[in-house]
């Protein structure tokens, strides 16, 4: 699994204590762009082709509105709703147990020369 770098923010839980460092996980423009894209005919078609049903786009709109609310008024409720929404997205992706065991480090031979090459002279 790709490792996350905690360089930029305290995360939703820590931000309950001190939210001066917290900012929305995505920019508000990003939420707006996702909502707009979700509602295109092309996306409807792709979603139906993939899942056999039409997409639901309302959550992106709610996220955009909460993002705006946070940016403009610093609303703690808006922050909570946004956090819960993104956490739900992450949990939805983790619903299924992986088939394989994840590595703790990359394969040792990835960067080695090809067999037969790079032998010392």
């Amino acid at each position: 699994m790709l490792k996350r770098r905690d360089a930029e923010g305290p995360g939703c839980k820590m931000a309950d204590i001190d939210d001066s460092l917290w900012r929305p996980p995505r920019s508000c423009e990003h939420y707006w762009a996702e909502w707009k894209h979700c509602r295109t005919i092309r996306n409807f078609l792709h979603h139906y082709y993939t899942y056999g049903e039409t997409p639901s786009c309302d959550q992106w709109k709610r996220d955009y509105q909460n993002c705006q609310e946070w940016e403009e008024n610093g609303s703690p409720e808006a922050k909570q709703f946004l956090c819960k929404s993104e956490q739900a997205r992450i949990l939805a992706k983790q619903k299924h147990a992986p088939v394989w065991t994840m590595r703790q480090s990359p394969p040792r031979d990835w960067h080695l020369p090809l067999p037969g090459e790079g032998k010392s002279k």
Binding site: E8, P25, H46
Partner: protein, 244 residues
């Protein structure tokens, strides 16, 4: 002693499967050592075209660029000269991932246009990405192979609506999943000596988990715009995960 016997049996199985797959890629020795003839590869037209298309794919395809970034981030930086090889292959195979040498094989005699090259490079990079991030037992565990093939068919654009229509596979509602299952099955049978029933069973058992594993894209990219959006999200993941 029983454990040692089982381990020996698994090793034997692994070697047999490796030998079977190398029949498709005859330029790889059975030990997994690709032969290199610089003069031959320099002047062969198929090879030059393959290398040029590969270069374009790595520089222009948003699918490929995202995967290369993800590989780098996972500690497996990809170098064209080291990790790609343009070779002649048997049959209709377009490419493969050789875990023994950490190389992606591109079948220069079967890839004839840039769009196809982009898709093949994407497909094989997904296998390489899985190899980099997980302990994938490519030769002895058909479920592991099935999972990576499901992901590659799902995320590479192999099963896009236009591609399926060109194959005269007409379907709309949820057809993407039908295509992914079918292409994963074909890929397994092309490189492993397993029965169709065993391969199908493996695909069925892993499908739910692996079809919904969209790493590193975060979504199923149906076209270049989706791939660009996914790449933007990928570049933003530090901010994302540190504020959730």
């Amino acid at each position: 002693m029983e454990g040692a016997d089982a381990e020996t049996q698994r090793e034997r199985e692994r070697e047999q499967q490796q030998q079977f797959s190398y029949q498709v890629f005859p330029e790889r020795f059975s030990e997994g050592k690709p032969k290199r003839s610089f003069l031959h590869t320099s002047f062969c037209t198929h090879n030059q075209k393959c290398r040029l298309m590969l270069l374009k794919a790595t520089e222009l395809s948003p699918f490929v660029k995202l995967l290369l970034d993800a590989m780098k981030r996972s500690g497996c930086t990809v170098y064209r000269e080291r990790h790609f090889s343009c070779e002649d292959c048997n049959g209709n195979v377009s490419g493969g991932f050789d875990a023994a040498t950490s190389q992606i094989v591109l079948c220069q005699n079967n890839i004839h246009n840039q769009a196809h090259m982009n898709r093949v490079v994407t497909h094989e990079l997904i296998h390489a990405f899985d190899h980099c991030r997980a302990h994938v037992d490519w030769f002895a565990n058909v479920k592991h192979l099935a999972c990576s093939e499901v992901r590659a068919a799902n995320l590479s654009g192999d099963c896009s609506l236009p591609n399926e229509m060109v194959r005269f596979n007409f379907g709309l509602k949820q057809h993407h999943q039908t295509c992914v299952r079918d292409r994963a099955l074909r890929s397994i049978l092309a490189v492993r000596k397993v029965s169709k029933e065993d391969a199908q069973k493996a695909v069925d058992e892993v499908f739910e988990s692996c079809f919904n594993d969209h790493e590193p894209f975060g979504r199923i990219p149906h076209n270049k715009s989706d791939a660009k959006r996914a790449h933007r999200d990928f570049q933003n993941r530090d901010r994302y995960y540190s504020n959730v």
